[in-house]
């Protein structure tokens, strides 16, 4: 039981972490809670399904399962990066100097728009992610059953987080993102094109959410236009738990939330999964709003 819930928790936690990163990166740089971020994740799941369907239709004899997964991930990441870029440019950039509530309302608008757009374009019924692998059980010890997909998701999440860490800490654009997050005017005076850095931040956050969408679609097998809502709020909870604006915080927050949910579902009752997640959100906001790794706001000055 313990080991089973541990694996389940890491799987879902990794996905929460990937989505939470987009929330936290965007918040870190423009102090906006991008409520449309969950929708980007949902679009990623659809993009993956459509890419596989297209490839299987166009290529005679279909494509190997591994190639299908790779294609789905690639398509989702590209499509989501494009959505993230466009969303920022159209819905948030014009409000850069507006009162803080305005972009927040705009984000809610984008969220509703995207959800309805996908509902109209793809229909209200669940879409099935193709069943790609025949035998998906990696090992089965009677009480513990771990699938290949779970292992792939856990490994994939960790790889993407490691890659993100490298980009943020060791590349020129990553350093510019950190600099811009700290002081936009000083960054501009250094010759950094701040709008460009903000666009890149949205694109990176969105492509991570897109990858998460494909992973979840593969894991559960079904998606629909409304999955972004709950996943979005859960990932937001993870970001707040870790400390909004803090990148390692989002990773840790996602993992902790996934594990708590999973253990809660296993030891208490599966129905309490969401109750646990939102109790955490409320508790963190009440007791330590800066989160586990969040810095004092005073330090930012």
């Amino acid at each position: 039981m313990f080991f089973q819930q541990l694996v389940n928790g890491l799987t879902i936690g990794g996905v929460y972490a990937l989505i939470a990163l987009g929330y936290t990166m965007v918040y870190g740089i423009i102090e906006l809670i991008n409520f449309a971020h969950g929708e980007i994740y949902m679009i990623g799941a659809y993009a993956g399904i459509i890419a596989i369907a297209a490839a299987q239709t166009l290529i005679a004899g279909g494509i190997p399962p591994i190639a299908a997964v790779a294609l789905a991930l690639l398509a989702a990441m590209l499509v989501c990066a494009a959505y993230g870029f466009t969303m920022e440019k159209l819905a948030y950039r014009p409000l850069r100097h507006a009162p803080r509530l305005s972009p927040l309302i705009s984000a809610l608008g984008v969220s509703i728009f995207l959800q309805n757009f996908i509902m109209i374009a793809q229909g209200t019924r669940d879409k099935v992610f193709p069943h790609l692998f025949e035998n998906t059980v990696a090992f089965d010890l009677g009480s513990v059953r771990v699938s290949l997909i779970q292992i792939a998701i856990i490994v994939g999440c960790f790889m993407m987080m490691a890659l993100l860490h490298l980009v943020i800490q060791h590349t020129k654009i990553g350093t510019a993102m950190r600099a811009t997050a700290q002081d936009k005017t000083a960054a501009a005076l250094c010759g950094i094109h701040v709008d460009h850095v903000i666009s890149v931040t949205f694109m990176i956050g969105s492509l991570l959410a897109g990858a998460a969408g494909v992973m979840i679609a593969m894991y559960y097998g079904l998606v629909n236009y409304s999955i972004g809502y709950l996943a979005g709020i859960k990932a937001f909870t993870a970001a707040v738990l870790g400390g909004i604006g803090n990148i390692p915080g989002a990773m840790i927050g996602g993992m902790i939330l996934g594990l708590l949910e999973s253990f809660g579902a296993g030891y208490i009752s599966p129905e309490y999964k969401d109750v646990i997640a939102f109790s955490i959100l409320i508790l963190v906001l009440l007791i330590k709003p800066s989160g586990l790794l969040g810095e004092n706001l005073a330090e930012k000055a």
């Binding site: 020129k172 350093t175 510019a176 950190r178 600099a179 700290q182 002081d183 005017t185 000083a186 960054a187 501009a188 005076l189 250094c190 010759g191 950094i192 094109h193 701040v194 330090e299």
Partner: protein
């Protein structure tokens, strides 16, 4: 090298700059002095493209730069050391410096540039892996200047480099500014420490509530009784001598 003509800047309802005229020639050190809120920092921020002027011209090497994007202005050759230093506290010293060179193409920014600024400010070499926020005020000022130099500016704008520094450090910073100028960088210096600024600069402009009220040779202005009284903190009984007021 830099010519400002009739520059007006508004912040909402506030008319911050009311027609500034200012020139800086190649190789000069020019200072802009005046009380708090006179519009000195606004002038520098307008040159750097952070504030868009409502009217007027800013010509850099005879090319209009007003309303241009800040990163393009840096690329054109104007760097600024902003008031309060504004170093990136959570980036290391070396990362701060590399950000200073952001606008230049990646490959040409080698360790040679870092070595140049480390030679100018040896303490930064020692501290290169420390976070900027852990440096002392004087070291942060040096880092801010070094960061601006990483862009290889032709014109360096300095906003109150003496602010909050002990007198001994102020002198050290001013020495470095003179050294930077000797290496061929033109300097426009905003200061509240009028005394130090007038001794360093060859020419000076005095601002009051969004206007330039006095301008001229620094050596002349140092002796000007009104300047002495208002900005150098010296009392002068002789008020019959009128200063040259600019239009």
């Amino acid at each position: 090298m830099l010519e400002i003509r009739g520059l007006h800047v508004h912040y909402g309802a506030i008319h911050a700059l009311k027609g500034i005229d200012l020139r800086v020639e190649q190789g000069e050190i020019v200072t802009l002095i005046g009380a708090n809120g006179a519009g000195k920092s606004t002038t520098l921020m307008s040159i750097s493209g952070i504030h868009a002027p409502s009217s007027g011209r800013i010509l850099f090497e005879d090319f209009p730069v007003e309303g241009m994007r800040p990163d393009r202005i840096v690329r054109a050759g104007i760097s600024q050391v902003p008031e309060g230093r504004r170093i990136f506290a959570r980036l290391t010293v070396q990362e701060n410096l590399r950000m200073g060179a952001f606008a230049r193409s990646g490959s040409s920014v080698g360790n040679a540039d870092l070595d140049t600024v480390y030679d100018l400010f040896p303490i930064l070499r020692e501290r290169r892996l420390q976070r900027g926020g852990t440096l002392s005020g004087g070291e942060q000022q040096m880092l801010a200047i070094a960061r601006a130099l990483m862009a290889r500016p032709k014109l360096l704008l300095l906003d109150e480099p003496s602010l909050g520094l002990a007198p001994i450090l102020v002198e050290r910073v001013f020495e470095r500014i003179r050294e930077i100028n000797r290496s061929g960088v033109t300097i426009l210096l905003v200061e509240q420490n009028a005394h130090m600024a007038l001794h360093l600069a060859s020419r000076a402009y005095v601002m009051e509530t969004g206007r330039i009220v006095i301008s001229g040779d620094s050596r002349v202005l140092v002796g000007d009784p009104q300047i002495k009284r208002a900005y150098l903190g010296e009392m002068d009984i002789d008020t019959t001598q009128k200063p040259t007021r600019s239009a």
